[in-house]
């Protein structure tokens, strides 16, 4: 409320929509033809509980792909399968042309798959900056001895990655909480930091598990803008799970709908919206 008062109006200004108000921007046609990830015939069960059965779909390079479905439809399990946390009993996953069998999550990370979690999975004892820096760990190479000295190559490396992390901080507009321990941050900001950590890994495929869960309208708008910007600026392919239908339909290029672990629809938002099976799943007898 003090000095910021003078400049607060800047922030308060309506952030006009880029396409809004007759600005002569033509939204470019979005065409995706290169398959980045292909899921085919994946089935997954725990004991007797079937989480996914015979699910197949693909994710193309550069698109925003939404996975939707009622609670318990197997959406999170799907993400867990993609980044190697669960190993499906049947089916194959083809990522960047390589058919994948068993793979540990850290391998998936090394292959360029990053993700965020439904229940924030930040390192609560570390600062925002350190959390984002952990996203760079994969890219850091200097060994123990250099690290011990924190000198020469190790320090240079640290600085290079710090610079990268700072660009992400700038991108996500979280400068003010750079050195705050994340455990103390409000929920919406934690979500943003988690996105930052995933981005720090420079992923080719970014998996977002309910990035807007529990947010208010304003926070949701911010997050949507960041997701679009990430896709735009870095060309990152994004697969996301989200409950807020209006946001899903706005954001995504294609939507796959799961229900009871099966795929019931797949297509553009308009196609999915018109699909009777989807309407049934959402409006029919709810299951949880």
């Amino acid at each position: 409320m003090t000095v910021t008062e003078v400049s607060a109006e800047t922030a308060a200004q309506p952030n006009a929509e880029p396409e809004g108000d007759g600005a002569p921007t033509a939204a470019p046609e979005r065409v995706f033809d290169e398959v980045l990830l292909e899921i085919s015939g994946v089935s997954l069960s725990f004991g007797g509980v079937v989480a996914l059965s015979d699910v197949s779909f693909d994710i193309c390079k550069g698109e925003i792909r939404a996975i939707i479905g009622p609670n318990g439809a197997g959406k999170s399990s799907m993400l867990n399968v993609i980044n190697g946390f669960y190993h499906p009993q049947q089916g194959t996953i083809t990522y960047k042309g390589n058919v994948r069998k068993k793979m540990r999550p850290h391998r998936a990370a090394a292959e360029g798959i990053a993700r965020t979690f439904q229940n924030i999975a930040l390192f609560r004892g570390m600062s925002t900056l350190d959390n984002i820096m952990t996203g760079r760990l994969l890219k850091m190479r200097r060994g123990l001895l250099w690290q011990a000295l924190y000198w020469g190559p190790a320090r240079d490396e640290e600085i290079v990655h710090r610079e990268f992390a700072e660009h992400i901080i700038d991108f996500l507009e979280i400068e003010a909480i750079r050195k705050t321990v994340v455990g103390q941050l409000p929920y919406g900001l934690q979500k943003r930091v988690e996105l930052g950590r995933a981005l720090a890994a420079e992923p080719e495929l970014l998996l977002l598990d309910e990035p807007m869960a529990g947010m208010n309208v304003e926070e949701k708008e911010d997050m949507s803008r960041f997701i679009i910007d990430v896709n735009d600026e870095f060309g990152t392919t994004i697969a996301l799970i989200e409950h807020d239908m209006s946001i899903v339909m706005d954001l995504s290029d294609r939507v796959v709908v799961l229900d009871y672990g099966r795929k019931i629809a797949d297509g553009t938002p308009d196609q999915v919206r018109a699909n009777p099976a989807v309407i049934e799943a959402y409006l029919g007898v709810g299951h949880g």
């Binding site: 725990f46 999170s76 867990n80 946390f85 979690f117 999975a121």
Partner: protein
């Protein structure tokens, strides 16, 4: 050549010995079972507290010592055995109240490791207090348990050991009844699953803690009597706690049957190892064998004997 003889010593000779002298082997096993029961008694105290409050109570060993010291001390003052027993139970209950009032209450919602450290502090406190009040010299404990030896089928048995085994079994049975048929017992089980649920049952956490620490104190007293009657009441009693730990990892921190079966496995395993393999390496392997056994076991079954398989979720 030497290598072959080494293989022989390690992998053949001990088994040949076992088969050649079955009676001796049986005696070893029985001795192991009996020690195992003692371990189980101590481990039981750990499990009770861990199950109900998530506290890894390192002071259980000290509680065993303190209970036995109190009993012996009262008897030395001329108190009759039964009254001394009741007195010891009362003292352990007071201790439970004090622990809740002065320690646990202030550490709610702290990390597990903090609570764990606090119980180590408690260990020192109880030990120092017990020895200050009752003195630190070794005391004989005789509450009239017979210790005549007799033979069954060529196997030498000791009445004392049988008595110990019997009381162990009775104690477990009593606890089982307590947990299944009393309101507070059911609440304790509920607490182990979910603190909120326990609150909903309507029993305050405070009561639960005091009860469970009292029961653990009582179990400690029984263990203390057994060990004390066998080898005298002394400082080293509190070290028995360390022996109970591998039992715990083997049996699982939250499983009463686990504590018993784990105790038996450790007791028997360590006796056999000591007798048949110990001489090869200079003996005294009892100190660490139990840990190694538990460790190797854990590598194959991380959740312990009776723990549930953990499905990791994200």
């Amino acid at each position: 050549m030497e290598f072959i003889s080494f293989l022989n010593l390690v992998f053949v000779a001990p088994f040949v010995d076992m088969v050649s002298f079955p009676i001796f082997f049986a005696e070893v096993v029985i001795a192991g079972v009996l020690t195992g029961i003692m371990y189980s008694l101590v481990a039981l105290g750990f499990v009770l507290i861990f199950k109900a409050s998530g506290v890894f109570n390192f002071a259980q060993g000290a509680m065993v010592l303190f209970a036995a010291l109190t009993l012996v001390g009262l008897m030395e003052l001329g108190v009759p055995v039964l009254a001394a027993l009741l007195g010891a139970v009362a003292v352990m209950t007071v201790l439970a109240f004090a622990v809740e009032r002065f320690m646990l209450r202030h550490l709610i919602n702290q990390d597990d490791i903090i609570l764990f450290m606090a119980t180590i502090g408690l260990t020192f406190l109880i030990q120092g207090f017990g020895e200050m009040v009752w003195g630190s010299n070794v005391k004989a404990l005789d509450i009239g348990i017979p210790s005549e030896s007799f033979e069954v089928g060529g196997i030498l048995l000791n009445e004392f050991d049988l008595f110990a085994a019997g009381s162990g079994a009775v104690l477990v049975a009593v606890l089982a009844v307590f947990f299944h048929y009393t309101r507070i017992g059911r609440a304790l089980r509920a607490v182990a699953d979910d603190h909120q649920a326990a609150m909903a049952v309507g029993i305050p956490l405070k009561t639960i803690w005091v009860t469970v620490w009292s029961v653990a104190g009582f179990v400690g007293l029984v263990a203390g009597i057994m060990w004390g009657a066998k080898s005298g009441v002394q400082f080293s009693l509190s070290l028995i706690a360390l022996k109970a730990l591998p039992v715990l990892i083997l049996g699982g921190f939250t499983s009463v049957p686990g504590a018993i079966v784990g105790g038996l496995i450790i007791g028997v395993g360590e006796k056999i190892a000591e007798i048949y393999w110990g001489p090869l390496v200079g003996g005294a392997i009892e100190n660490w064998f139990a840990y190694m056994l538990a460790l190797v076991f854990l590598l194959f079954r991380p959740q312990g004997l009776f723990g549930e398989r953990i499905i990791e979720r994200v």
